[in-house]
């Protein structure tokens, strides 16, 4: 501990003085409670790097990933979005970045008021009454929705309707271990029963199709089950608000609109519900209030606080509605600013642009001899592609041409997915990438 590390201010001289004032001889003696036999074990870590070395090493690593300029048509839960430059600018302000969960509202209004903005945006998009400030990701949010539905209905099974993201099903399964909920993965809403706390449906579904939610709500409600909709918030710029169609709980993934998939995370689980479930909700909630009377006659000002904390682990402990503590606040801030930057017109236009570009690409692919785009109904940004080769071969041929194709979904049960890849084109997919894809597929088609 001689020459101080840039992250640690105290010098040897500082330390000597502090030790003296504490009244101990050595720093090690402060650790005397630790069992001596276990102390200071051999630990092997790579050597420390100075900042320039660190930047050099990790910049090198970043280039070992496929270049961001490589055309890719992967979607399946992570979508390339156009995010305004103001988002990164604002969310990188250290007052936001380096703050903790806002336990002291007087000096945390930035985080709190932004949280209230976030809840408002989520409610507007989903058509729900109340929202929390965000959970880890869409899948864990959906799992929490299932747990909440089970608590609210006192039922012990949940139904998930295919096509649903397999990762999401997996996470619900993980979370269901605790209360030992039964998971029924259904092919049709008609199998919902009185045993089910909720019916969970994805919008658009895992294969990209836009669902008509109202009949699903009816089916669920007819059995006393809640309807949980797992919605892409971006698509909600165009699609009917799930709440208007009868949803009771809506979850969603906010990461993409917040900017940057980053190999999957940090993500952002949106969670909104009808107001009767408010006190059952997991996660932090921001409420609006006013200053307590100052006694100086001044009109109390408006402020924001974490509220309804009696649901939470740090108060309710083993009876809390969830164990969640740290969530994804900074991503929620980015999501909020990104959506508000688009505004009502922009979000609609952007979603329509996404729709048009995806449909145009699908049309062009369908026009290539040997290729087929099987449709399962109206769809948003993802579509199935079958080619003249089996799906894995088609994917391999495409990769060999420098293009990451859509996800191979040929092992799924839906008939349209047979030998198909799930392609995604969004408002942010460069034209040049789509053109390269068309050329590559045409070449593959010609050679097949």
């Amino acid at each position: 501990m001689s020459s101080p590390h840039p992250y640690i201010p105290a010098t040897d001289a500082d330390r000597a003085l502090m030790l003296e004032r504490i009244g101990v001889e050595t720093l090690d003696s402060l650790f005397h409670d630790l069992p001596a036999s276990r102390r200071d074990p051999a630990i092997s870590l790579p050597p420390a790097l100075t900042e320039p070395e660190l930047i050099a090493l990790l910049s090198e690593r970043a280039t070992e990933n496929a270049a961001p300029s490589r055309p890719s048509f992967l979607g399946a839960g992570a979508y390339r979005r156009s995010v305004s430059s103001i988002v990164a600018h604002l969310t990188s302000r250290s007052e936001f970045v380096t703050a903790y969960t806002p336990y002291q509202p007087e000096i945390s209004q930035g985080t709190l008021q932004s949280g209230f903005e976030f809840q408002s945006v989520v409610c507007e998009l989903t058509g729900m009454d109340v929202a929390n400030v965000g959970l880890y990701d869409v899948a864990s949010a959906t799992a929490e929705a299932c747990l909440m539905a089970a608590r609210a209905t006192k039922r012990e099974a949940v139904a998930l309707l295919e096509p649903m993201h397999p990762g999401a099903i997996d996470v619900v399964q993980t979370y269901a271990r605790g209360p030992a909920l039964r998971l029924d993965v259904l092919d049709s809403p008609e199998f919902v029963s009185e045993a089910h706390a909720c019916l969970v449906v994805q919008q658009p579904d895992f294969l990209g199709t836009i669902r008509d939610l109202a009949p699903l709500a009816d089916a669920a409600h007819a059995r006393g089950a809640l309807l949980v909709v797992v919605a892409d918030p971006f698509a909600l710029g165009l699609l009917r608000a799930p709440g208007d169609a009868g949803a009771d709980i809506v979850t969603g993934e906010g990461r993409d609109l917040a900017g940057g998939a980053a190999y999957g995370g940090p993500s952002l689980g949106l969670f909104a519900a009808r107001s009767q479930f408010l006190r059952q909700m997991p996660g932090r909630i921001v409420g609006r209030t006013r200053e307590v009377e100052a006694g100086d006659g001044r009109e109390p000002r408006t402020g924001y606080v974490l509220t309804l904390q009696a649901r939470e682990q740090f108060i309710r402990r083993e009876r809390a509605t969830s164990n969640i503590s740290t969530a994804q606040a900074l991503i929620a801030l980015a999501f909020t600013i990104a959506v508000q930057a688009l505004g009502p017109q922009g979000l609609r236009e952007s979603a329509e642009l996404c729709y048009q570009r995806a449909h145009d690409a699908a049309r062009r692919i369908a026009a290539i001899p040997g290729f087929d785009v099987p449709e399962r109904g109206p769809w948003f940004q993802e579509f199935l592609v079958r080619g003249p080769l089996a799906a894995p071969q088609l994917a391999a041929e495409s990769s060999a041409r420098g293009i990451t194709p859509g996800l191979d979904v040929s092992d799924r049960q839906e008939p349209e997915a047979d030998e198909a890849l799930l392609f995604c084109v969004t408002e942010a997919t460069p034209d040049s990438h789509v053109n390269a894809l068309i050329d590559a597929l045409a070449e593959i088609g010609a050679e097949a």
Binding site: V138, I285, R317, I324, I337, L342
Partner: protein, 493 residues
């Protein structure tokens, strides 16, 4: 910037929704110039959407102003106990934002993601070394999710042992963080609370008494939330293992002991870490974090999916452990946070991490000594990374609550410490200076707290009225909970 708006302005009363004008916009969207595809049927489409309509400059100003109403680590000392609010090196953010990392699709072929995967492997190996627990999953998104994973792993192991039906209890100390009992309950276990002994360690007798074949696990925070080492933890571990239960380490306080002692060596079976604390990834006002879970070989098959595997070809791949409890998230965890943590680990190396824990402990003890006599210290012994005082004397003698002391500290330019936690300390003031505060800052904090202690006696009303220099005064939390207003509503016409 300083909040330059006039002091009387009720800034919070006007949300972005209440600003701007219909038709304004902060960004433009490109036009579609190709063939138009018909939109889906109208009943599938949204009719209206209420969102703010502001020009770019207005929106930037609004959120810039909001930021000025926040206090971050870069604003000053932020000694929030248990939260490890230390300096967040900027280079880590730079690294995570490199395009190759930031724009990677989670389903991209692993061969195309070796830059990310090799970096995560380095972190995984480092965490295994640091915890002495050989198997690691980086999937959990935060401490609580790491705990959940850990407890589910214990559950799955018990199930495989055929003992799950019988082992329904988890023992949790009364000093534990709320996530511990909440997690145990979420995993379907009953929680038995273990009292803290007079020296601040777990009450050994109670543990011995409670340990039987109904116990699945004991969750212990090491060092504990009093900032103290759990004396005799090794013997406790033996007792627990003899009783057929597992020992879980809440590793959120790793900052105190990094590089000096390891959970694995002490007999812990599984631990989660809070990289957003010990490894200094920014807290972001409440996340994102990362809560990797580390475990023994025995529990390794149950780790959450994905884990990392390096093939003989050197290629790092994602894998599902044999008897995995499953996924915690749709994809692979908070990778951006994990990259930052790796950069932090690499910037420090072993010596650096040892300096971190050494200085963190030195700083906490320095503060302990500086404040000695001014505030009660219920567990009066050398501490590790944090020190928990009690304001009960101030409360008793002057009617000043810890709450008031905390608010008054704001007027001195500091973020308040954690208050009223751990629950076992009356009027608790839980202070964690961290290793990144210089001695001068610790002295200044102590001086402010001493000034407040004096003021409690001389002018308690000043404390009740605090803070007076913050962007807003004390807020009515009762009203907020009683009549919840939780979202913007259009002004009634």
């Amino acid at each position: 910037m300083t909040d330059y708006r006039p002091a009387g302005e009720d800034f919070g009363a006007r949300l972005s929704f209440d600003r701007g004008e219909p038709g304004r916009r902060a960004v433009d969207v490109p036009c579609w110039s190709g063939d138009e595809s018909p939109l889906p049927d109208a009943h599938l489409l949204r009719d209206s959407l209420r969102l703010p309509e502001l020009s770019q400059g207005e929106l930037v100003r609004y959120y810039t102003a909001l930021s000025t109403r926040n206090y971050g680590i870069d604003s000053g000392t932020y000694p929030l106990g248990s939260c490890t609010m230390k300096f967040n090196p900027k280079v880590n953010d730079l690294i995570a934002s490199l395009q190759g990392f930031a724009e990677a699709h989670p389903l991209a072929p692993e061969e195309d993601m070796q830059g990310t995967l090799r970096t995560l492997l380095e972190l995984r190996d480092g965490l295994a070394e640091i915890t002495g627990l050989p198997a690691v999953s980086l999937a959990p998104a935060a401490g609580a999710q790491g705990e959940f994973a850990g407890v589910l792993m214990i559950m799955a192991a018990l199930q495989d042992r055929g003992e799950l039906a019988q082992r329904r209890r988890i023992l949790v100390p009364d000093s534990a963080h709320g996530t511990n009992p909440a997690t145990a309950a979420m995993a379907g276990f009953q929680v038995t609370q273990i009292p803290t002994a007079a020296d601040g360690s777990l009450d050994r007798d109670t543990i011995e008494r409670e340990l039987d074949e109904t116990v699945a696990a004991v969750m212990v925070t090491v060092p504990n939330t009093l900032g103290l080492w759990e004396r005799g933890i090794e013997e406790v571990a033996e007792l627990i293992h003899e009783a057929g239960a597992y020992l879980y380490a809440d590793g959120a306080n790793l900052n105190a002991i990094m590089g000096r002692i390891r959970y694995g060596d002490l007999g812990f079976d599984v631990a989660h870490l809070n990289l957003h604390k010990s490894f200094s990834t920014p807290h972001g006002g409440g996340g994102p974090g990362a809560g990797p879970v580390c475990c023994s070989e025995e529990l390794a098959p149950y780790l959450p999916t994905p884990i990392l595997e390096q093939g003989d070809d050197g290629v790092v791949r994602l894998a599902a452990p044999e008897r995995s409890i499953g996924r915690m998230q749709q994809f692979h965890g908070n990778v951006g946070v994990l990259l930052r943590a790796t950069a932090y680990m690499r910037a420090l190396g072993l010596d650096g991490l040892r300096s971190v824990s050494g200085q963190a402990v030195l700083n906490a003890n320095y503060l302990r000594v500086l404040l000695h006599g001014w505030y009660d210290l219920p567990y009066d012994r050398p501490v590790l990374h944090e020190v928990v005082f009690s304001g009960s004397r101030q409360r008793r003698e002057h009617g000043v609550r810890t709450y008031d002391i905390a608010k008054r500290l704001i007027d001195h330019g500091f973020h308040p410490p954690t208050v009223y936690f751990p629950l076992i300390v009356e009027e608790a003031l839980m202070i964690e200076p961290t290793e990144t505060e210089p001695p001068e800052a610790i002295e200044a904090l102590a001086n402010a707290l001493i000034a407040i202690a004096k003021e409690s006696a001389e002018d308690p009303a000043a404390l009740h009225a605090a803070p007076t220099t913050a962007p807003i005064g004390r807020l009515d939390e009762t009203a907020a909970a009683r009549r919840p207003v939780l979202r913007w509503q259009p002004p009634s016409p």
